[in-house]
């Protein structure tokens, strides 16, 4: 009888202890799906301590804290957008590796394509002009072996 009671007590104790262990292990990989979502968000966010890393890459304390914060918020059932909003409310658009399109970031988004279009247009115009230009527009060819060139000034004494 006493033996059974002791066993029961022991089992109860063990059962009480188990959640304790589970809690300790929680921050890493307790739930692969959750961890995947944490990381998916973390790679979008810039670590402000080491600015060229994402908070997924960085080992800075703040990055660790923010990853934990993302995990907690996901566990509370908040959406990705809510979490992004939470971060930009505190750290500004600068934390987003993909900043939103608005007046202050318009040049950032539109600038490179505009430059490309301008460069292509310039190239096109230049090639067009060359094609339509008369042969006189080009520098004379000074190659002495090139006999086809009549306009060559000093290069061809044989003729």
């Amino acid at each position: 009888m006493f033996k059974r009671l002791r066993l029961l007590l022991l089992l109860t104790l063990a059962a009480l202890l188990l959640p304790g262990f589970a809690k300790d292990a929680e921050p890493v990989n307790s739930d692969p799906a959750l961890e995947k979502r944490v990381m998916a968000l973390a790679v979008e966010l810039r670590c402000l301590v080491c600015q060229n890393q994402t908070i997924a890459d960085s080992h800075a304390e703040l990055a660790v804290d923010l990853r934990n914060q993302i995990r907690t918020m996901l566990q509370q059932g908040q959406s990705d957008d809510q979490i992004r909003r939470y971060m930009t409310d505190r750290y500004g658009d600068f934390v987003l590796y993909k900043p939103p399109f608005k007046a202050t970031t318009a040049l950032l988004w539109v600038g490179p394509p505009l430059l490309l279009v301008a460069a292509l247009a310039a190239l096109f115009v230049m090639l067009r002009r060359r094609q339509n230009a008369s042969p006189d527009a080009f520098d004379p060819d000074d190659d002495p072996n090139d006999n086809n060139d009549d306009a060559s000034p000093a290069g061809n004494p044989a003729r």
Binding site: L48, V49, Q51, E61, L62, D65, L66, Q69, T88, D89, R90, Y91, G92, D93, F94
Partner: protein
């Protein structure tokens, strides 16, 4: 000589102008979205007496300075004498936020270097820090009577910043009713 030969030179000058301007910007100074927004609420234990707490509401009605510091933070040590000196003449109270620090270490630090703070709040897990968008200790906030953040400085303050920015601002905030 045609004007066309000047085009590369002009492009170079424009580029050099942009790069020169960029050199003088500080990439660490990220504009805070919290400026002119209500300061995030908090309730924190006091460093001097962990049995007591202070909340943001307790500080309403007067302007105050919030200086985020930690005993492990070297630049904090650098700016600290400025705060100690300023505390003697400051028209508003200076509150410290002891960020991710140990109580013992924080207390010893103040004892050794002087305590310019009306009180220091503790933020052992950095939660309040996250709410205030803190990423580079030390940081300094100026908060007005209505509890709105009016100014933020990242990194150690200098005598110039204190004299030219913070001091005039707190005087103005303190005077306006």
């Amino acid at each position: 000589m045609s004007w066309r030969y000047l085009v590369p030179l002009a492009l170079f000058l424009v580029l050099a102008g942009f790069l020169g301007f960029g050199l003088n910007l500080n990439p660490r100074e990220v504009p805070s979205p919290l400026i002119d927004k209500p300061a995030p609420a908090f309730r924190a234990k006091l460093l001097a007496d962990p049995a007591k707490t202070i909340a943001k509401e307790d500080l309403a009605g007067k302007a105050w300075i919030l200086n985020v510091w930690a005993s492990w933070c070297a630049p904090c040590r650098e700016e600290h004498p400025l705060w100690v000196a300023y505390a003697r003449q400051s028209p508003v109270p200076i509150y410290g936020l002891n960020y991710k620090d140990q109580t013992k270490a924080g207390q010893a630090w103040l004892q050794q270097l002087g305590n310019p703070y009306a009180e220091s709040l503790t933020d052992p897990d950095g939660r309040i820090g996250i709410d205030y968008g803190v990423y580079g200790v030390p940081e300094t906030f100026v908060i007005d009577r209505a509890g709105v953040i009016r100014y933020k400085h990242i990194g150690p303050i200098t005598a110039d910043v204190l004299r030219d920015k913070i001091d005039p601002l707190v005087k103005r905030l303190n005077a306006s009713v």
